[in-house]
């Protein structure tokens, strides 16, 4: 056997392990911050969304539990209050003067009081809330179904997303917001919840209403919803990624 290839092979293996070692330990942090590399990693979200949408139909429901499965303590995460005088005033009056504004690409822009919302077709569901951090809690939600409400205000043909504008600022200067597409908007379990565990939604859980999109993670379940806007694109809203956490690197499609 020739001596030369053996040595170079050994040299190759040594440098290979050195390169892969430093790549794993140091280089990965640099890669994590490179916009080009982040774009490549983010391609996985599109694949996940397409595959999940392929296996999910409008009839695929998030599992519903029974009363005995309810969490004894349901953690309130993210904002647990709204630091805003007008919100505080509304809260003191039991949100009697609060109005939900529905506008954007709709044929009949509307405002709804909490009482009007309560009179709309509703749905009650006991579901599992999965936080992106890893924990789960089970709660009972009652709210107006979003689908029929959207039909009554009439979506314009160019409307593709619904943006939920919230009252809370999880970070100074940036209000919380979320968005979903029409597939999730018209899913029967997608509701504007005003009751949690048979009582009016409390302030830590997003009073007066929070969105429930049961087939996605917790950060999509926007609290303190003040307005719903139908849009054709998410690009011109805040950071342009369709949500507070999405603007901070999280997936817009939070089905996993």
């Amino acid at each position: 056997m020739d001596l030369k290839p053996k040595l170079s092979r050994r040299g190759f293996l040594t440098s290979l392990s050195a390169v892969s070692g430093s790549l794993l330990l140091g280089g990965c942090d640099q890669l994590s911050q490179s916009p080009t590399f982040r774009d490549i990693l983010s391609k996985a979200e599109g694949v996940t969304q397409r595959v999940q949408r392929f296996v999910l139909s409008q009839k695929s429901m998030a599992r519903e539990f029974s009363e005995s499965d309810l969490s004894a303590h349901f953690k309130a995460n993210g904002s647990t209050n709204v630091d805003d005088p007008s919100y505080e005033t509304q809260a003191k009056s039991g949100f009697s003067n609060w109005r939900l504004k529905i506008d954007g690409l709709v044929t009949r822009p509307t405002t709804l009081s909490l009482d009007e919302l309560r009179r709309l077709p509703s749905r009650t569901q006991i579901t599992r809330h999965d936080c992106v951090e890893g924990w789960s809690a089970i709660g009972k939600w009652k709210g107006a179904q979003l689908g029929p409400l959207l039909q009554s205000v009439g979506l314009k043909p160019e409307a593709r997303y619904l943006v939920f504008h919230c009252a809370d600022e999880l970070e100074a200067g940036s209000k919380y917001y979320e968005s979903i597409d029409l597939i999730d908007a018209f899913h029967p379990q997608t509701i504007l919840a005003y009751d949690m565990n048979d009582a009016a939604l409390t302030i830590p859980h997003g009073a007066p209403i929070r969105l429930r999109v049961e087939r996605q993670l917790g950060y999509k379940q926007a609290k303190y919803v003040m307005g719903i806007e139908a849009v054709s694109s998410l690009a011109n809203i805040a950071g342009g990624n369709g949500g507070f956490w999405e603007d901070r690197g999280y997936e817009w499609y939070a089905g996993i």
Partner: protein, 281 residues
Amino acid sequence: MSVEAVETGREPLEKPEVVYRHALPVRLTHWVNVLCLAILLMSGLQIFNAHTHLYFGNRSDPQNEVLSMRAVRGADGKPVGLTTIGTTTFHTTGVFGLSRGDDGQWEARGFPSWITLPSYRDLATGRRWHFFFAWLFVINGLAYLTYSLLSGHVRRDLSPTGRQLRNIGHDIVEHLRLRFPKGEEAKHYNVLQKLAYLAVIFVLLPLVVLTGMTMSPGLDAAFPFLVEIFGGRQSARTIHFLCATGIVLFVFVHVAMVLISGVWNNMRSMITGHYRIEPAE
């Protein structure tokens, strides 16, 4: 005198036989798998660090907790890292619960920064890495399985023969003495190797994928039986973590065996396919 004899300074007793051991698809998928598993482990620990507790069931109830890592203030006012497994608590300062970050400062974190991806706390980026390489891992795994089942690799190289299974006791003893097969016996995997590979390929790796899928609220709606099989989303998260631990243990033993039983020969066979058979004594 041959070049080899000059090299080693002694007469070769018998010319070692070189066999073609690993087909190209096996070698290729093996190294893609190494990359995927390393990144999945490190980004997985980043994700774990966002909630350093494991439970059984569907809810994250404190009474169903099976593992927990956290930092508390000790009697002397200094922070301590604690890890609880079941009902037993260990002091794990420096490793689990509390460790020094990149800047040398003490930080409350489940796993230390040198093993998480990114090293600093960033759940969003950890998830991006994890799901990208999860897809690559699944595609690579399916390519390997398709090749292995169709080419007869599983049947020919990985399924233990009846004779091998009957002699398993002898093999265990030989392994513990770190004596490895030579000659004809070395041309195929030994029984412990076969069983370990089969367990990883057909149990551990599919299980880690399925429990990962079970943590997805979307896939749970599409395939409700997933949650049923694993006894709840939080159970699935715990089993996912246990599978990852099992894979790490396998890799430790696997790498140790590669090192002990001839590192260059083994590495060459997984890169070029060619494996040198030591003549039987």
